[in-house]
Each structure stands twice: as C-alpha cells, then as structure tokens.
C-alpha cells in the first residue's frame, strides 16, 4: 500500500477507472458533473486531498471519503468549488434590480415590509455584499423596506471567508474609491475588510442546491441570484436545482442567472421577463389551472 513517501508532492497513480468512480461519487453528493476531459482539474485537487489526509494511495483516500472520516466530504467539496469572483460582477443585473425588479416587487408590499434577497452560491461573499452596497448606493427606497439578504453556499470554507469579509485589490477592482472608503477599512497586507455592520446584516448559511431537504428551509424569497453555478451541473441536476429554487421564490419573485445560462433550456416553470438591463426569470404570480 505504501507506494509513496509520506508528504511527497507526487500523487499516487490514479487510473481512469478510479477517476470515473470518483466523479460518480462527486456527482451523487453534489450534482457537479466532471468528466475525464477535466482530468487535470480533478487530479490536482485529488492530489491535494490525498496529501492533506496523509493517505498513501487513491484507494485509501477513497475509503476515507466514503466513510466521511473527519468530514472529508466537506473538505473535498470545498476544494472542488470555484470561489473566484469580485464585487459588482455582471452589474447590469444589479442595475436591473434597482431600475426594474424591486419596483415590481415592492409594488405588492406596504412600506416597512420585508424584501428577501438570496445569493446562492455566494462563494466568499462578494455577491451578497455587492447587492447590499448596490442597494445603499443606488436604490432610493432602501430605508423604506426591511431588506433581508441571505448568502448560501455548499462550501463552508468559502462561507467562513464571507463572514470575515476580507478582500484583496482584485476583488475590489470594480468598486469606486468612494465606495471602498465608505464601506471598507484597510488592514494589514494590502487587504480590505468590509464594514462590520454590513457583515452582520447578511446571514450566511450552508445550502446544497440539489438537496430538496436542505432547500426546504429557504422560502419566500422575492429575488434570487444564482449565477454561474448551473453550468457545472448536468441536465438532470440543473433541472432539480432550478425547481428547488422555484419553490424558494415567492409567487411573482424573480431569479437572475449567469450571462451564459438560460432558464428556458432548464425548466418550463419560469416565465422569461425582459427588462432594459437584463433578462431574468419569474415565478408566475399564480398557476391558472
């Protein structure tokens, strides 16, 4: 079994069959579909986890994974999720939110009513914080409603980073100097930490898009941002995720997907809504059955 020297950076040999077994396992647990074509991506992360757990071979590591010793599934998921993003990414959708979507949403509500917005997956927090910043900077009604922003992700390591709210220059590149100075404070190493009040105003939770049990805890959202994650799923998981999200929306609520994603190709439940700044998808007000 011990075919490598402990701590060696060279991975144990992993056969195509083993990669396939591994990918099936990942798919069953997360809905993310990786194929042999992403072999390099998989190998690198597998090597890291084999080394990190002190396993001497793929076989040994895979046994550990299947028994979920030391929460290895969670560590593995964390290493497989892609967490690179930045503030005000795809800001045409934020513009759409304040120019069109929120007016439609609050039209049904009394002043002081609650507006619930969900960022899933929220990765290391850039998106939910961007939503809050954008609202404070651009929506004249921001103090007229009780806005609740929830950020969820499958990756607990990303969620911890989101709660910390520490970012480098790259993440802040789209923000004006003025916004940075109002809502961030410089800390050691050239990093910036987002305002504590802002950190406390967003609820960060762990959620798995394709787990109906998990998703059942999330209801009554007026607006959901679910961008650039469904592209990692296969057709079946994508539809399952979309229909889980449908149940999380208020009737009449909206969902924003990534620029390369189209709900029309995923699920028939939603209605396409075209606004000047973006195309979004709506859960119809009522099923006229």
């Amino acid at each position: 079994m011990d075919d490598s020297k402990g701590g060696s950076s060279h991975a144990a040999h992993i056969s195509p069959e083993q990669v396939q077994r591994f990918c099936e396992f990942i798919y069953r647990r997360t809905g993310m579909l990786f194929t042999e074509s992403k072999r390099y991506f998989i190998d690198r992360r597998l090597e890291d986890r084999i080394a990190a757990t002190g396993s001497s071979s793929f076989q040994e590591y895979f046994s550990l994974l299947r028994t979920d010793a030391d929460h290895e599934i969670e560590h593995l998921i964390n290493s497989f999720t892609v967490n690179e993003t930045y503030f005000y990414r795809e800001d045409h959708q934020f513009r759409c939110m304040t120019a069109s979507l929120l007016d439609a949403i609050v039209h049904q509500k009394e002043p002081g009513g609650t507006v619930r917005i969900w960022s899933i997956p929220c990765s290391t927090g850039e998106e939910p914080y961007s939503i809050a910043l954008w609202l404070m900077e651009n929506w004249p009604q921001v103090d007229n409603y009780n806005i609740e922003i929830v950020g969820s992700d499958i990756d607990t390591r990303a969620l911890n980073a989101a709660s910390e709210g520490v970012y480098g220059d790259r993440a802040l590149m789209r923000l004006s100097r003025d916004v940075v100075s109002r809502y961030f404070r410089p800390i050691a190493g050239g990093y910036h930490q987002i305002d504590e009040g802002l950190r406390n105003s967003i609820e960060f939770t762990r959620a798995n898009l394709i787990d109906p049990q998990d998703m059942r805890q999330y209801r009554d959202f007026d607006l959901i941002f679910c961008r650039n994650v469904l592209i990692y799923f296969d057709d079946a998981s994508r539809r399952l995720a979309a229909e889980n999200l449908y149940d999380c929306l208020q009737p009449g609520g909206y969902i924003c997907l990534g620029h390369s994603e189209s709900m029309s190709r995923i699920s028939p439940l939603f209605r396409v809504s075209r606004f000047p700044d973006a195309i979004v998808y709506q859960r119809p007000e009522a099923d006229h059955g």
């Binding site: 002043p111 002081g112 404070m136 004249p140 305002d195």
Partner: protein
C-alpha cells in the same frame, strides 16, 4: 487616533431594527463627519442614552420590544439631561395621527421614509447645530 486639538464631532444615535437601514444612515452621517452609534430597538436605545452622551437620536417608529413612540415617551419623562436630547423620528408611517403623536411626545422633527442621504444630513445638521 484621538486628537484633542480638533473639536468633538456631534454624536448621533441611530435606532432602527433593520441592520441595512442603520448601516445606510450611519454611512451617510459618518461621511458627513458625524460620530454614529446604533441601537436595534427602544430598550437598547434607552440603555445607550443613559450611559453615553449624544447630541441627537434618530429613531424609527416600528420596532420590536420597544417601539419609537414608547422610547420617546420614556426619554422625555427621564432625567433632565436625557429628557432634552433632540430626537428626529424617521418612519414609514406617513399618517397625520402618527406625525401628531410624534410631535405630542416631543419629537423635534418627523421624516417619512424613504429619506435621501442629503436630506438626512441636512436635518441632522440643523438639529445638532453642525455645519458641513
């Protein structure tokens, strides 16, 4: 950080149950040079005004545990140093009765939400005697 040579900034207590609203008001006022503290309801606000000194309290009406009207009533019936603290009420309640009640309870001014940043700062300057 403390610089004894510069005059003290006016201190404002912002009382609202919505964290994003508190943040919005706080950021606007801090940018304009005010020092801001926060409370999430009337009870917490009462504790703060009794233990720290402020130049103005900005208070919402609808809050859990202790609403803005109850807070204002307690404030005005308190000891002289807190009873005279200027109070700016900001609420989604736009009814004449609400505004009349706020005035009767001793609110110095009443604004109906939404309140734009410049408007907020202007009223806070007037009520604290600050100049921008």
């Amino acid at each position: 950080m403390a610089d004894t040579a510069t005059p003290a900034k006016a201190r404002v207590l912002v009382v609202d149950d919505s964290s994003l609203v508190r943040l919005y008001y706080r950021t606007a006022l801090e940018t304009a040079g005010f020092e801001v503290k926060q409370a999430i309801n009337g009870i917490e606000a009462m504790e703060k005004v009794l233990s720290e000194s402020f130049d103005l309290v900005i208070v919402d009406v609808n809050m859990p545990r202790m609403d803005g009207f109850t807070f204002l009533r307690s404030l005005r019936s308190g000891a002289a140093d807190v009873a005279t603290l200027p109070a700016l009420m900001i609420s989604t309640e736009s009814g004449v009765q609400d505004i009349a009640e706020a005035r009767m309870l001793g609110a110095n001014f009443y604004l109906v939400k939404p309140v734009a940043e410049a408007e907020l700062v202007r009223h806070v300057c007037v009520l604290t005697g600050a100049t921008l």
